[in-house]
Symmetry: C2
Subunit: 334 residues, 2 copies
DNA sequence: GCAATTTATGTAAACGATTACATCACAATC
DNA sequence: GATTGTGATGTAATCGTTTACATAAATTGC
């Protein structure tokens, strides 16, 4: 079933059918209803590809994630999803698996489908040129999880440096001096690097010597957190507090600490990052930094929609708050 | 940049350009390279919509999830993702939010995009007609998380009844008689209903009287698990063991039990469902039923690809194993 | 009652690929 | 050397919409 077949049956032109379907107010109600009725009867299904071809754009938008495992990205994805569906658009997703090549492939795929826009989630280093290229091709982009202050790129992020600084600072305020850091592959990822620097700066600002032996860089994951913590525990002079830069890492670390027979926070204070709901259900409930995963998703999608509907305009940039959530996993050093 | 522009520049016909791009072996190497080079130079991007229109199908496939929060579905999604990307296809995702209407809207969207197939993840009740309709329109479907034995529908699932039966049975083997059940909205969802029945049957097979007061049906989620457990704890005669039919519910329940000052498994045995990695990192590590989330995703995608490539054929149906994983959260009733 | 405006509909040309079919050159066969 | 076969390329129709423009009919204003 196609519009022209419907047109034939209704004894009108395809233009009228198209209008009846897309701009109902443009066709006389009586006729419109007749057309709609025929479409329904014959099970007409709109052919998006044909429309996309003619209109030279689609109503699909692409989202790029490193991975969707881990509750954080899943929340952002969910928020994006909801907004997208509100706008009756389609969402094409891709996982880069932290690989540049895979990312390139996916972006190409998005271009081939002529997506209206792309949301980059927590992207790596230096995609700025890629994004500018896309914008030039009229594909609007937004970046989440980062703040790209001195660029002309849309973003909805938070201050990774400050968030890590605050967390470290909190530990210091509890008199901790030997503070371990368990962090993802920060050398490869802009926002992790910023967090690393936030940690360093907090130490520096309080006259605490940075000790490379106290930082473990690892892949994200529960097991990795556990292993990293074990490593820290075996240090000649183990830390009295640990900042695990993801709740998943922290939960892994927690299990390692308990297994070694230590108490949290009695023997070791532990602070996480992300603020996933789960952190509140740990034993003890995990102090953490809440990153605005849902809000970023929501806002980023809105920003994208605005860009798309109003043409380019100037960059829209939002830096949301990431708040320290104090629960029970940290205590003052005796 | 379009094929015909490239054709003009190269002094050949569009057909040749199309062939150079799609069936490289069909055009003389020298000419092919010249065309490819021009395409590269002029930043040619393939126009998927145009091809889809002409070919009357797309290389996109749709996936439907109730929601993507909760680690389980996220894992399945990830597995699907990987397979899809291996096949160089595009993945359109939609969240039904457990709503029939939303599901219908998304399916329509998929149809409009002429997806090659749809993966239904853990679908509700009686979509069988919907699916048969889609198949008739040449949109191949696979259902995961369910086994639809006596139908002609592709599925890659596991035996929900048996999985729940086994878990309950295990508790019974530890001499428990009052076994609580915390479960999602089983009245609305086929697979939850089957699990409920598995629980009932296990009781029955061991001569234990079913007690409706011991089952709490709730939305999935940590908080809900916690509340449900609280409710169970306040019973005049609380259960000595609880089967929480999702690890998330179980973790919520666990926190509730601890908060009330009871021990797991000393006072109350607890068993989860799903077998997410996280369950191993609880305190105590959670005994659970491992559902083959990744495998279902992988296999379902493969089944779909085969359907698509080979035309319809007979239904492919796989019932994978869901194993009981015994850890530390259950003990024998004294 | 006529011109001017508005509203409803039709006409037809795109959009950018794919592909059946036609053509042509050349090699292989007897 | 005529015939057949093979491989490379071209021709042109087609997929199902959208939309600028044309036209016709109805409404308005004076």
């Amino acid at each position: 079933m196609t519009m022209s077949r419907i047109a034939k049956i209704a004894g009108v032109s395809v233009a009228t059918v198209s209008r009846a379907l897309n701009y109902p107010e443009k066709v006389r109600p009586e006729l419109r209803n007749r057309i709609l009725e025929i479409a329904r009867q014959y099970n007409y299904v709109y052919h998006a590809a044909a429309a996309d071809l003619k209109r030279q754009k689609s109503n699909a938008i692409g989202v790029l994630f490193p991975t969707t495992i881990g509750p954080l990205f899943a929340e952002t994805l969910m928020a994006i999803q909801e907004k997208i569906q509100e706008h009756h658009m389609a969402l094409i997703v891709g996982n880069t698996m932290y690989s540049k090549a895979e990312e390139a492939r996916l972006v190409k795929q998005f271009q081939e489908r002529r997506v209206a826009g792309i949301i980059f989630t927590g992207y790596g280093l230096g995609q700025e040129n890629l994004i500018r290229n896309l914008m030039r091709q009229n594909i609007f982009c937004v970046v989440t999880y980062e703040n790209l202050e001195d660029t002309d790129i849309n973003y909805v992020g938070f201050d990774n440096f400050k968030a890590a600084y605050d967390a470290t600072n909190y530990l210091i305020s509890l008199r901790h001096k030997r503070i371990g850091l368990i962090i993802g592959p920060y050398r490869k990822m802009g926002r992790l690097l910023k967090r690393f620097k936030g940690y360093q700066q907090a130490l520096k600002d309080h006259g605490i010597q940075f000790d490379a032996a106290l930082v473990v860089s690892t892949e994200p994951g529960l097991l990795e957190g556990k292993q990293a913590m074990r490593q820290l525990l075996h240090l000649p002079e183990p830390p009295s507090a640990v900042f695990a830069v993801s709740d998943h890492l922290a939960i892994g670390a927690l299990s390692s600490i308990k297994q070694a027979g230590f108490q949290v926070p009695g023997d070791i204070s532990l602070i996480g990052f992300d603020g996933v709901e789960l952190a509140a259900y740990c034993d003890p409930p995990l102090t953490t930094v809440r990153v605005p995963a849902r809000d970023m998703g929501r806002l980023a999608t809105e920003v994208l929609m605005k860009s798309i509907n109003n043409g380019v305009k100037r960059a829209m940039q939002y830096c949301l708050d990431a708040d320290l959530i104090i629960r029970k996993s940290c205590s003052e050093l005796k």
